[in-house]
């Protein structure tokens, strides 16, 4: 764990959930504030500038990505970890593309959540198995033999074989350490791969990603 406790801000529209997270985080982190909607969240985060914002994907006043979008330009040092009970991939991907550094489901255990907060605070990326599955799904649609649209930027628009392998192992429930052992690489390299996937996810303008989201919404 890091020497200083990360300062955490919780955004969720359910008071019960906020207090639950607060008690689960315990003394390993310092909870500096909480908010129940987009506007108060933006104001609160602006004021206390936490290290990590635990952000619910679904908020009544516009969703989690509104908070990220509003704060990212002014406060790039504030890191967002999306937290949601939602299974809808397009919502999760939207928050990640807005700039969140990771996504975990609300069923995560307290210890895992604390770990995830520390990792995000340290600048790492947190991929839950489910997010890894979403990303594989999103990038898979264009990589098959039936790919029609040539991508504008192949470097950004496709995952490398290694990145795909890493994501698959995350989706299978492996920890970074286990992945490193499995692929004979260092944990640092695993982290690099995951960060690069996140970057592609955020920066890629490929049609498939947008189309994938709409298709998922229609399905």
């Amino acid at each position: 764990m890091s020497d200083t406790r990360p300062r955490v801000f919780i955004v969720d529209d359910h008071g019960l959930f906020r207090s639950g997270v607060r008690s689960e985080l315990g003394h390993d982190v310092e909870v500096v504030g909480e908010a129940d909607d987009v506007a108060p969240a933006i104001a609160g985060i602006h004021e206390c500038l936490p290290d990590v914002v635990l952000l619910d994907v679904h908020l009544p006043g516009g969703g989690g990505q509104a908070v990220v979008t509003a704060l990212k330009p002014e406060h790039p040092e504030v890191r967002f970890l999306a937290l949601s009970a939602s299974d809808a991939p397009e919502d999760v991907i939207a928050v990640i593309r807005a700039g969140a550094r990771g996504y975990v489901t609300k069923t995560i255990s307290g210890a895992e959540l604390v770990d995830a907060v520390h990792r995000v605070a340290a600048g790492d990326v947190v991929f839950s198995p489910r997010l890894a599955g979403f990303v594989l799904d999103a990038f898979a649609s264009g990589s098959g033999p039936g790919q029609q649209q040539p991508s504008l930027d192949p470097e950004l628009d496709q995952l490398t074989g290694r990145e795909r392998e890493v994501l698959r192992l995350i989706a299978r429930g492996y920890t970074y350490k286990e992945i490193a052992r499995e692929l004979f690489i260092s944990v640092k390299t695993v982290e690099t791969h995951v960060s690069s996937v996140l970057r592609k996810l955020q920066l890629s303008t490929r049609h498939q990603l947008a189309r994938w989201a709409t298709e998922r919404r229609l399905a």
Partner: protein, 458 residues
């Protein structure tokens, strides 16, 4: 996958009795009800059935009165119906009015009270009847003014039948109302089919009436002086409309409001019965099993998933039917079953989807076996399933972080699993690998090549 479409956890099977709301559109029959329409005898023989006169729930065209009479006197329903219709025409509608009255007076099968009793206490219904009668009185006055005696003689049965129908509609129990609504569907369809058809229909009727009226005036009253009472009648009508119009409007609005309220009430009842079937049942189970945290977690998860698929995917609780036609559906089914039966959480991550064929069904069967095995023996509280559909092959990984075992010194029962999973996959040309170490959990990897035709479809 061999489960029927309406899969429910085994503990829910005794639930049907508590179900509320939902109109009986499945034709549910009262168990104690005698089979009325089987009571048919040879022609000409009168055999009075014992027991009280009751309108049956089935085998009815309008209110079931004909069926009730037929059952009582032991005659064919169709004969009774024909007699009633002929009589209604011959008596100038009085038999039709009597029919409606009988409808109100004869209780429905399985009930003790008739509708008339309830109708007499229905104040708003009686107010509606008064409104209807006021309209009919106006029509009667007009009829006599135009010397249309035949219309005047129809008024009386019309008043009785109309009043009866209004009261029946308002006071019939829910199931009978549902039946009436189904019968009225084709008629109501005329007004709701489309605005255009409705307009054409109205215009046609208006033109016919207008033409008829002008023709009648033109032929009967050549002398212009005779039109004077007509102006008087027109004044009288406008006076009455000004007087009573707002009241009629309010009554009409009341009817609409009543209808909307009924629709809302039905929606509420539907949601209530769904919530009862799913959420309330689970909450009750959770309370009863409060001392078994694992079971509580599994129940809550299963319920959460069901509720979510209802709210976001519009899939009603308890139905998985179409899901199991695809690989993703099959994996979710494994998840549901294992969570419900073994009280272990199953995390599923799916990438892609494809329709099931025999090979993939075998793959799913092997995956189910691996998952159930992990739930039984690993001691882990969470099992992860990762399924990925690629153009050329489908892979499923089942992983737990439980006890694990040393593949070299496998106990007989686990070896059995390994063999059966491997054999199952090998028969279909797939691969299975099992990796495990004591203290590190177990992972079963299953891979099956896809059929070329299906791969090209995807």
């Amino acid at each position: 996958m061999e489960e029927p479409a309406g899969w429910r956890p085994p503990w829910e099977t005794a639930r049907a009795a508590g179900r509320s709301g939902a109109p009986a559109d499945d034709g549910s029959r009262d168990p104690g009800q005698p089979p009325w329409h089987f009571r048919r005898h040879g022609p000409g023989r009168w055999s009075w059935a014992s027991g009280p006169l009751r309108r049956p729930r089935e085998d009815r065209l309008v209110g079931g009165v004909a069926a009730a009479i037929a059952a009582k006197i032991g005659r064919d329903v169709t004969t009774v119906r024909i007699i009633l219709v002929v009589a209604a025409v011959l008596t100038g509608g009085f038999v039709a009015a009597a029919y409606v009255v009988a409808w109100m007076l004869i209780p429905m099968a399985g009930t003790e009270h008739n509708l008339a009793r309830k109708a007499l206490a229905d104040r708003r219904g009686l107010a509606l009847v008064a409104g209807l009668w006021s309209v009919l009185i106006v029509v009667r006055i007009l009829a006599s003014a135009f010397k249309a005696g035949w219309l005047g003689s129809l008024i009386f049965p019309l008043a009785i039948a109309g009043a009866g129908l209004v009261l029946i509609w308002r006071n019939a129990p829910e199931d009978e109302q549902a039946m009436m609504r189904r019968q009225a569907q084709p008629l109501l369809g005329l007004t709701t089919r489309s605005r255009r058809t409705g307009l054409i229909l109205r215009l046609t009727v208006a033109v016919i009436l207008l033409a008829g009226g002008i023709a009648a005036l033109g032929s009967a009253h050549e002398n212009i002086a005779l039109l004077q009472p007509l102006a008087g009648v027109a004044l009288l009508i406008s006076a009455i409309v000004v007087l009573l119009g707002p009241w009629w409007l309010r009554i009409a609005r009341d009817l609409v409001v009543e209808r909307q309220a009924r629709v809302r009430a039905e929606e509420r009842a539907d949601i209530a019965s769904r919530v009862h079937d799913s959420v309330l049942q689970t909450l009750a189970l959770i309370q009863r099993r409060a001392d078994q945290p694992q079971q509580v977690v599994a129940l809550a998860r299963a319920q959460e998933r069901e509720l979510r698929s209802w709210l976001f995917d519009g899939r009603p609780p308890g139905s998985i039917g179409d899901q199991a036609m695809t690989l993703a559906g099959g994996v979710r089914l494994i998840q549901q079953d294992v969570e419900a039966q073994h009280g272990v959480a199953v995390e599923v991550v799916l990438v892609g989807d494809c329709p099931l064929d025999d090979d993939l069904t075998a793959l799913l069967a092997a995956a189910r076996e691996a998952t159930v095995n992990a739930a039984k023996w690993s001691g882990a509280s969470v099992i992860s399933i990762f399924a990925e559909v690629e153009p050329a092959e489908v892979s499923v990984f089942v992983r737990d972080r439980g006890k694990g075992f040393d593949p070299e010194t496998v106990p007989a029962d686990r070896k059995g699993l390994a063999e059966s999973v491997r054999a199952r996959m090998a028969r279909r040309g797939g691969k299975a690998a099992i990796r495990s170490a004591p203290g590190e959990g177990t992972e079963v990897s299953l891979t099956m090549r896809r059929n070329v035709t299906e791969a090209s479809q995807a």
